[in-house]
């Protein structure tokens, strides 16, 4: 059973100084805007954020970075046309950057969730991003050793949650959500609706409920139409605030 939180602040109540926060999204698709607003209002400092990008414009993740409470970001693509908040902090030496190739980033997060202690990847071999990493030849090919990235909290955006915590996503907004959900001690999903257990087809569940602790309804109208199999259900709660 999941906890349906009244607001993002409640969902983030136990965020501690020094925590590692996994933030879903690729650009703005799959970015949990409501949870990031909750993060803005938290007082936790010295956070490490793991996310593909380092914020766009002045809202969402960029607004969180602007508070100065993030000491380090682990990501694959910080520099974008509208990443001025990160750019400034980075040039001022106020944020540490660990740059990871996108596939290694995804696999390191998956490894954390899957209990894998480390893995050998061909990505990055011979490049500056392999500096200091163990290189090993296996069956005639060079690989580097990469280690898992665990989170204290994962903040993700999904589409529909059922009361068992099962999640579906929408299109390419799925991106990092399913793997981040597996890699954190507490996973909070911002969703467009909550439906009764059984209203999501068990064959179509993307994130099983075991990986989800709390859900918060997204503010604003849902982008999607009603859930494919849960829409007609009388118990469903839609995001309409």
């Amino acid at each position: 059973m999941i906890e349906v939180c009244g607001d993002a602040g409640d969902a983030l109540r136990d965020l501690r100084d020094g925590a590692t926060v996994l933030v879903g999204g690729f650009g703005e698709a799959g970015l949990p805007f409501g949870l990031l607003e909750g993060l803005l209002r938290c007082s936790a400092r010295d956070l490490t954020v793991v996310s593909n990008n380092a914020g766009n414009g002045d809202s969402g993740l960029a607004a969180v970075l602007a508070t100065g409470r993030v000491k380090k970001i682990i990501c694959s693509y910080p520099r974008q046309v509208d990443s001025w908040v990160f750019d400034r902090l980075y040039r001022e030496g106020r944020i540490e950057l660990e740059l990871v190739p996108q596939g290694n980033l995804a696999e390191r997060i998956r490894a954390a969730g899957a209990g894998i202690g480390g893995f050998y990847t061909p990505t990055g071999v011979g490049t500056p991003l392999a500096a200091g990493k163990e290189v090993r030849n296996i069956a005639g090919r060079d690989y580097i050793l990469e280690l898992p990235i665990h989170g204290d909290v994962a903040l993700i955006r999904a589409d529909t949650a059922d009361e068992a915590g099962n999640l579906t996503y929408r299109k390419t907004a799925r991106n990092f959500g399913p793997i981040m959900a597996t890699a954190a001690k507490i996973t909070v999903a911002e969703v467009s609706r909550v439906v009764p257990a059984g209203a999501i087809d068990p064959e179509s569940v993307v994130t099983p409920g075991i990986f989800v602790n709390r859900v918060v309804l997204a503010s604003g109208p849902a982008r999607s139409g009603p859930a494919r199999s849960g829409s007609a259900h009388p118990g469903s709660r839609e995001a309409t605030r």
Binding site: M1, R110, A112, G113, A114, G115, I116, D162, E163, A164, N166, T182, P196, A197, G198, P202, E203, V205, P208, G209, I210, F211
Partner: protein, 216 residues
């Protein structure tokens, strides 16, 4: 209690000790009986390593579907809120420490919590391990459920396992017909006895036992 437990009674007390809201894997054989004593309002969700969460009771009659089985290959049913996933995801769930409890049978458990439950060591036996080693290292808590003595009267809680190991220092509780044991920091605590006493057990097992639960 004043007499040794039946299998059903053992399953009952294991079920009693599983925390409400847990995600639980019940190993093949005896541990599957535990499911019968988990009331729905306890909201325990059953995992089966062949790719399902939200497994329901064994299927009967028309419910039987050859595509829906548990890890023991017996037909089962699906509860509302169930989900299906492939084997790598299923064992990632296990190895990643997401299951709260697993319940397994055993040949031997050592005082350090080492588990032996996949091979008798008989050189003539055909070995088969299945998911036992993955469960042993993956679940947050491993309960063992077994008789305390084998058919020849040999103790199955032992100073050191003599059978090939399944996992190291992984068992935290052992439910038997004669007693319930907690294993912690190489100490064996006896929290309940059935038709025997801690003193009698200590003599028969030839290992030091501490009466009462382990300090937290």
């Amino acid at each position: 209690m004043s007499s040794p437990l039946s299998r059903a009674d053992m399953a009952k007390i294991v079920a009693r000790d599983i925390p409400a809201g847990s995600y639980v894997n019940l190993g093949i054989g005896q541990p599957t009986l535990v499911a019968d004593y988990l009331p729905p309002d306890k909201h325990v969700v059953l995992h089966t390593e062949n790719g399902m969460l939200g497994m329901g009771p064994q299927a009967c009659g028309d419910e039987i579907d050859p595509d829906l089985t548990n890890a023991g290959k017996l037909p089962v049913t699906e509860l509302p809120g169930a989900s299906y996933f492939h084997h790598a995801d299923s064992f990632a769930m296990m190895r990643g420490g997401h299951l709260d409890v697993c319940v397994m049978g055993a040949f031997q458990v050592s005082t350090a919590g080492d588990l032996a439950n996949w091979h008798t060591g008989d050189p003539d036996a055909i070995p088969a391990v299945g998911g036992a080693m993955d469960l042993a290292v993956g679940a947050k808590t491993v309960y063992v459920m077994m008789t305390l003595f084998d058919k020849d009267g040999n103790a199955k809680v032992v100073p050191e396992c003599t059978y090939p190991l399944t996992g190291l220092a992984c068992v935290s509780r052992v439910y038997t017909d004669l007693a319930v044991f907690q294993l912690k920091n190489d100490q064996v605590y006896v929290t309940e006895t059935f038709g025997t006493t801690v003193g009698e057990l200590s003599a028969r097992l030839q290992i030091p036992l501490v009466a009462g639960p382990s300090p937290d």
